[in-house]
């Protein structure tokens, strides 16, 4: 019985997530369109609402080309490896006080650990394509994700020190009883988290793995049809998950004035994060590879360590 209930929950979350991705893509194109003074997609359905659905249907009907030089087995499973862990993140998220899947004691550790498996898909896809653009895109991507994973993980340690637990729900409950969201006492961590999350997601201005102007399309140059669609799906699934984690860690999850239900607040805060990323995409030019790496190692990691030391000092001082 329990098993049926959990499966039902997982299927519902999957459907919501797919719907969320559909509209996140539309939202991105609309936001960037508005910022560049053009209408964005507006042909399919009112306000272009069915644009992404039409795109997915088109990709479903396209041929699945496998290059002769490719390492076929790895080429075929790379999109699956990229997508599955991105979706597994959702198991440990709590969308409202009573809407959650797995209530893990090691919640935040699980989330960060599973999230980093996604880069395996990028590496496998790029290497197995046997294409120079793909190879460059994937090694750049992995070096970048590896470098920015450290500040991302280190920025969270400050919160763990304050709460004294790795459980995601307890982190939100702590913010409720303390009456303050962690964005204020952990502002430095918040800034580090946001910057490194952009690099983790390979979004502009850190979208070097897909740099269209030099690498065609980066690690998924050789992918076509629905396999390509799954790489895109994995990317947006991951983006929404990172936004959800940020919401729980820094913006108090489902907390908010009582006139709206908790999960609506959760969704609104997530949309805010997504909007921030799309805004940066439309605003900033692409960084150089060297600058990108230096920025993580020379600025973000020292800042994150500083934050840990300062937080630990205050915590021990206050007792």
């Amino acid at each position: 019985m329990d098993l049926l209930l959990w499966t039902a929950y997982a299927v519902i979350i999957l459907m919501l997530m797919l719907g969320g991705v559909t509209f996140a893509i539309l939202f991105e194109r609309k936001v960037i369109g508005a910022m560049q003074l053009r209408p964005g997609p507006n042909r399919h359905g009112p306000w272009g609402l069915f644009q992404t659905i039409a795109d997915v249907l088109k990709l479903l009907l396209k041929e699945d080309i496998i290059p002769a030089a490719a390492d076929k087995k790895i080429f075929l499973i790379a999109p699956v490896i990229a997508f599955a862990p991105a979706f597994a993140i959702y198991a440990a998220l709590a969308f409202d006080e009573n809407i959650y899947g797995a209530d893990l004691n090691i919640g935040i550790l699980y989330l960060l650990g599973v999230a980093s498996i996604t880069m395996l898909g990028v590496l496998m896809g790029g290497w197995s394509s046997n294409n120079k653009y793909s190879l460059l895109g994937s090694i750049r991507g992995v070096a970048q994700m590896v470098s920015y994973e450290l500040p991302l993980v280190l920025s969270v340690v400050g919160i763990v020190i304050l709460v004294g637990s790795l459980n995601m729900r307890e982190i939100v409950f702590f913010q409720e009883s303390a009456g303050i969201w962690f964005i204020i006492p952990q502002f430095l961590a918040f800034v580090v988290y946001i910057i490194s999350s952009i690099a983790e997601l390979n979004r502009a201005p850190f979208d070097l793995p897909e740099a269209e102007s030099e690498l065609v399309s980066g690690f998924h140059t050789e992918y076509s049809g629905f396999r390509f669609a799954f790489f895109m799906l994995a990317e947006y699934t991951y983006a929404i998950a990172i936004a959800a984690i940020a919401t729980m860690l820094f913006l108090g999850g489902w907390l908010g004035p009582a006139f709206l239900p908790g999960f609506v607040w959760f969704a609104l805060k997530m949309v805010l994060f997504m909007f921030l990323w799309f805004w940066l995409t439309a605003t900033l030019p692409r960084a150089r590879v060297g600058d990108l790496m230096n920025y993580s190692w020379k600025v973000l990691i020292p800042l994150a360590i500083l934050n840990i030391v300062a937080t630990a000092f205050i915590k021990v001082w206050m007792g």
């Binding site: 098993l3 959990w6 929950y9 997982a10 299927v11 979350i13 999957l14 479903l60 396209k62 041929e63 699945d64 080309i65 496998i66 290059p67 030089a69 699956v80 997508f83 599955a84 862990p85 979706f87 597994a88 198991a91 440990a92 899947g101 797995a102 893990l104 550790l109 394509s129 046997n130 294409n131 120079k132 190879l135 090694i139 070096a143 590896v146 470098s147 450290l150 993980v153 280190l154 340690v157 763990v160 020190i161 004294g164 637990s165 790795l166 140059t221 050789e222 629905f226 799954f230 590879v289 060297g290 790496m293 230096n294 190692w297 020379k298 990691i301 360590i305 630990a312 915590k315 021990v316």
Partner: protein, 123 residues
């Protein structure tokens, strides 16, 4: 929380993981019936902006990537130590803080050394 409730949480994780693998597998298998399949020699050649592909792409790449990987291993192991310490800092007090400060100092010295050695320079 009882032990069975503890394991239940991981069953939920497993369900999500299985679902995450099933969705692409099922969708791609189903897609086989609706998509065309017409590969010929020109279509399946490697894309290299229209010119004939030259040589293999699975080659050795720049050493800087290896160095980043090495640095990453060290700092990633560090974070593994940081998390349990952060959870238990309440009980550890000043003693725990001092120990971790020594540990972090050694690490930061390592970072400073590789900075000075220009390992982090990519230009």
């Amino acid at each position: 929380m009882g032990l069975s409730a503890y394991y239940d949480n991981y069953i939920i994780v497993l369900i999500f993981l299985i679902l995450g693998i099933l969705l692409p597998v099922v969708a791609l298998t189903f897609g086989r019936f609706v998509r065309p399949k017409n590969p010929y020699a020109e279509k399946v050649t490697t894309y290299e902006s229209g010119i004939q592909p030259k040589g293999d792409a699975q080659v050795r790449y720049h050493v800087a990537y290896y160095l980043v990987a090495l640095e990453f291993i060290i700092f990633d192991v560090e974070t593994v130590f940081l998390f349990p310490w952060a959870v238990a800092l309440d009980q550890l007090g000043w003693y725990g803080l001092n120990i971790m400060l020594i540990f972090l100092t050694i690490l930061v010295l390592g970072l400073a050394y590789s900075w000075k050695k220009r390992v982090l320079e990519w230009n």
